[in-house]
Amino acid sequence: MSGTFVGMPAFPKAAHEALGNAQLRRNLAHATGTIRAKRQRLVDEVNANSDWEALRLAGAGVKESALVDLATHLETLEASLTANGATVHWASDAVEANAIVASIAKRHGADEVVKVKSMVTQEINLNEALAAEGIAAWETDLAELIVQLGDDLPSHILVPAIHRNRSEIREIFLTKMASAGRPAPVDLTDEPAVLAAAARSHLREKFLRAKVGVSGANFAVADTGTLVVVESEGNGRMCLTLPEVLVSVVGIEKVVPTWEGLDPLLRLLPRSSTGERMNPYTSTWNGVTPGDGPQEVHVVLLDNGRTNALADEVGRQALRCIRCSACLNVCPVYERTGGHAYGSVYPGPIGAILNPLLKGVGNPGPDGAQVDSLPYASSLCGACFEACPVRIDIPSVLVDQRAKVVDAHRVTRKVGVPKVEALAFKGAAVALADPRKLGLGERFTRVGLGVARRVGARKWTSARDLPAAPRESFRAWWKRTDGGRS
């Protein structure tokens, strides 16, 4: 039912379309502004008593220690999970992971699964893969339900329906709920509590019926073999406890070496994501507990490009990401374009680095061009790095990914006509390496202005005036007046 991001245009084109949607911009400005303010109050509160920066360093340290020796920690995790009665599967890509989940569901004769909100199952398009096998995957997170019922795409990591306001949600519930199960009451209003009650009634039917639950995990603790899901609504806990079978798809970067390592992460995550001291529900489970909860527990450990990212010296820090979305909420680009423009379930600043790292840059075809456009979808203002609870230096990774995009095209464009931009920078490199090559003074200025006007004037002047050219350049003035002394 819910769509996937296929055939998306490159960022500038998608952004152009999103910018024309005034309702979207109002929804986003209001929502991100509210979350930003909540987060800042809690950061200030931590700083009043201790030190937010120290907490960030501790969180980054835990994730970094996991990545430095990832193979060892994953083997420990597999051994602990197995000892706890879980079955561990390894999947190198989306196709393998989806096949594993589908085969487990089919073995139990299930024609439906209930799902905990999870980014990784969206990354691999699990719902669509299960649908192709005749298995309905029901999203149970309220916002994911809105997205799924609306046949829409998520636009935010934490708040996937952030682009919708409550009157739009009422409309979706009224027109779409009936086709997916229990219908919405006919007198449905757009009061948040009334909308939540309709969703609760719709979802309970599914919770009580489903035999198989599917989740991701926020953290996978290696030494104890524990999976952790952090959520607000309790719908996740329903899926984690009511079905007989539980399948959790977990990216390999989610591993945390020790139980103690959860400490800074569980303090950083709710403050950075929802702007709360503590999230309402933290569910942890160690494999199978006889007579309590699912009696068959599977864990699918997924690569899907993560080892590529790990091999990237500058970019590997992106694997520290705990999917809090603080970077989205502070990003001036995201605030104006929304998440769909990024063409991925991972939008915003983290998406602008994670997608190219997972998928690689310089791939042929329109999807390759879309991925290659993402590192440029930033003004490099640095607000994301400042907000990131695990200190991912997103601007530096963006710049590094831009160099990788350019380098990839250096190779592929050996034959044929080089891009105007590449030629312009090659010319500039020659000119700016030695002012004598241009002759001093006016010629330098004229060439600089000439290049600027030819390369970008129209894109610049559509909404902005260009400054008037001065009578003489600074260096000409300095030479003529001996630095203003004559």
């Binding site: 952004a15 440029y376 640095g382 710049v399 350019v406 500039a428 970008g456 909404a463 300095w478």
Partner: protein, 246 residues
């Protein structure tokens, strides 16, 4: 102390008045600033667009031009940020150990103007007079790459005749972002339009910032909107004195 002015390519070509203001200001404070004519550009446009090979000869020229100076002062937080934090990336790319060593010696000597005034010269009252209402936009690279903090405000607050008005959402990016302004022109303009609206809301006569590239963008929108608000670089306000105000 031998002090060099790194005027930046954009100021050299488009805003020579900003360069002249730095010279006036520093001489008034007793610094005999020099202008090494070999300088061209800090290489930021290449680095931030991904053209690292093309940045190598430009950085090589930069370290040659500024070798031997005790301090390099620039009226741009962004260019100072590139010299301090990105030249080492370019040097690594070149594989040239001599270039890496030269960068390591030059980079820490590069100061954005407000840093040089407050930290090196130890002044906040530079004897300026500027009888106008002014609002200050802290540019992203000066704020988050260099960490200049409130140094520009300390300097502005000591300017006689000047009334400083608070800019709403001051710390949000104006949307310039170098080649971002062209590659993602629509988003850049949407961000700039919000910034320009906030500037107008203050009722200030003058918008001040420490980077003429950002001011070109915001100012380009403000003049297109015929707002009447002038965009002026921090250096020009600090250089202004009674009888010679800008």
């Amino acid at each position: 102390m031998r002090v060099a002015l790194m005027v930046t390519c954009i100021n050299d070509a488009l805003y020579p008045g900003t360069g002249r203001a730095v010279v006036t200001l520093l001489r008034r404070l007793g610094v005999d600033v020099e202008f090494p004519a070999q300088q061209t550009c800090c290489a930021q446009p290449m680095v931030n667009t991904g053209y690292l090979d093309e940045a190598v000869p430009v950085v090589r020229n930069f370290v040659d031009a500024f070798a031997g100076y005790d301090a390099v002062v620039t009226p741009s937080g962004s260019c100072a940020g590139c010299a301090r934090h990105q030249h080492s990336i370019v040097a690594r790319r070149s594989g040239d150990a001599a270039l890496a060593a030269a960068v390591e010696s030059t980079s820490p000597k590069v100061y954005e103007l407000s840093e040089f005034l407050v930290d090196v010269l130890g002044v906040t009252d530079v004897g300026a007079y500027y009888p106008h209402t002014v609002t200050y936009h802290p540019t992203c690279h000066s704020l988050r790459m260099l960490g200049v903090g409130d140094r520009p405000r300390q300097l502005l607050e000591k300017v006689r005749g000047l009334t400083l008005l608070e800019l709403p959402a001051a710390e949000q990016c104006c949307g310039f972002g170098g080649t971002f302004a062209l590659k993602n022109a629509d988003t850049s303009v949407a961000m700039g339009a919000d910034k320009a609206r906030h500037v107008r809301e203050t009722g200030a006569e003058v918008l001040v910032a420490g980077d003429n590239s950002c001011l070109t963008h915001i100012g380009g929108l403000l003049t297109r909107e015929q707002s009447g608000v002038r965009s002026v670089h921090l250096a020009e306000i600090l250089a202004a004195t009674e009888g010679a105000s800008a």
